[in-house]
């Protein structure tokens, strides 16, 4: 699995594989990619990840994913991703969500994902 590692890292990490680490900071929330670990196997990758990425911050669950199992977009897409078109028509800023989402659902979303955006922090608002 180290085949794709840069030459300079190959000897340093001999016998180990690269894992991407995802940490879930609260139940129901999403697992967020926080960094990587090199480890000889997935069990040790989990134990390393706990000490590297969950020793100070809150954590309820960790995923480690072998880096060569991740399906990634090809490099040339980077250019394609550049948004030259104005996308404001795709944004829901004008939609008064509170009015249409039943209160119980809104509460559920708030509990699961934290304080809902009030629209004031969006970059496209101005």
């Amino acid at each position: 699995m180290t085949d794709q590692a840069p030459q300079s890292e190959r000897s340093l990490h001999e016998g180990t594989a690269l894992y991407y680490v995802f940490v879930q900071s609260k139940k129901g929330g999403r697992h967020t990619h926080v960094g990587d670990v090199w480890a000889p196997d997935s069990d040790l990758a989990l134990l390393f990840a706990k000490e590297h990425y969950a020793r100070r911050e809150p954590c309820v669950s960790i995923w480690v994913v072998p880096h060569d199992r991740v399906v990634a977009s090809p490099p040339e897409w980077e250019e394609w991703f550049q948004m030259d078109q104005q996308k404001r028509y795709r944004l829901p800023n004008e939609y008064p969500a509170d009015k249409y989402i039943p209160r119980s659902s809104a509460q559920f979303i708030q509990e699961a994902y934290g304080k809902p955006s009030d629209g004031s922090d969006g970059a496209d608002n101005g």
Partner: protein, 270 residues
């Protein structure tokens, strides 16, 4: 005051002393384990990742030492700084395994796996205590120690199954076996019964050793290694556990390292 009340007061005073001793044992063990694990920073383990992870465990141990020193202080013992920097070395109540490190990976793994299991045996035995402060600390510390145990066990099993390191694991087991059992040289359980609301039987050295053995057996099975040779009925904390001041020669060297900066800059603040 009635005779009964007097007796209770006397028992309580000596019970407090025993609890203070227990708190210092826990604190001194964890402090020296944490300190000696930090030394691995200077030494190359299997990988950078493994060393960074272990330094995180070391910091946990230093944190455990801090809360147990605090408990000791609240019972009339020394402050944390005084205990570490000024206390006469013979007053340290740590077991020898706590400071007795060798900068070698299989030795470290075996020493720590055994220490963690001995530590778990005494924390498990203390867990049902009615002493509110101690019970709270034991609960919180034991939770972190579960991760530590998993960590050292993971390495232990892997090293035992590698042809190159298996013999080193077996050798280290023989080296540290009695030292791990010596961790279970705890203060007099009869005195603790009243103070902690615990069954003295559960804190007796044979019961603690049983608990320790039932912890390590599944690990040894997974690693496919045998218990060290010897008659299990002789596996009891020895007179040279290091507790009560009789430390081995390496102890003064480690304490000297711990105190070197403080002694050179006594007015230093950091």
């Amino acid at each position: 005051m009635t005779q009964t009340a007097l007796n209770t007061e006397a028992a309580s005073a000596s019970g407090k002393q025993v609890l203070l001793d227990f708190a210092l044992q826990l604190a001194d063990d964890e402090f020296l384990v944490g300190h000696t694990l930090c030394e691995l920073f200077d030494y190359s383990g299997p990988s950078l990742e493994s060393i960074v992870a272990i330094l995180s465990l070391a910091q946990d141990e230093l944190g455990h030492a801090a809360v147990f020193y605090e408990l000791a202080h609240s019972l009339g013992g020394p402050t944390e700084d005084w205990a570490i920097y000024h206390r006469p070395p013979e007053d340290f109540q740590s077991a020898n395994i706590a400071h007795n490190r060798v900068l070698d990976w299989p030795m470290t793994v075996v020493r720590m796996a055994l220490y963690e299991h001995a530590d778990a045996a005494r924390l498990d035995a203390l867990n049902p205590t009615t002493h509110e402060k101690l019970g709270d600390l034991v609960y919180r510390v034991a939770k972190e120690e579960r991760f530590h145990r998993q960590h050292w066990e993971a390495w232990f099993v892997r090293l035992a199954h590698l042809p190159d390191s298996r013999q080193n694991v077996v050798r280290a087991l023989a080296e540290y076996w009695q030292q791990a059992i010596d961790v279970l040289d705890v203060p007099d359980a009869a005195e603790l019964e009243a103070e902690l609301g615990l069954d003295a039987g559960a804190l007796s050295p044979p019961a603690l050793v049983d608990r320790f053995l039932s912890g390590v057996r599944p690990l040894f099975d997974r690693a496919d290694v045998q218990l060290p040779a010897g008659n299990p009925s002789t596996w009891l904390p020895g007179a040279h556990s290091g507790r009560r001041g009789a430390h081995d020669a390496a102890f003064n060297e480690v304490i000297g390292e711990v105190r070197a900066v403080h002694e050179r800059y006594p007015e230093g603040r950091w």
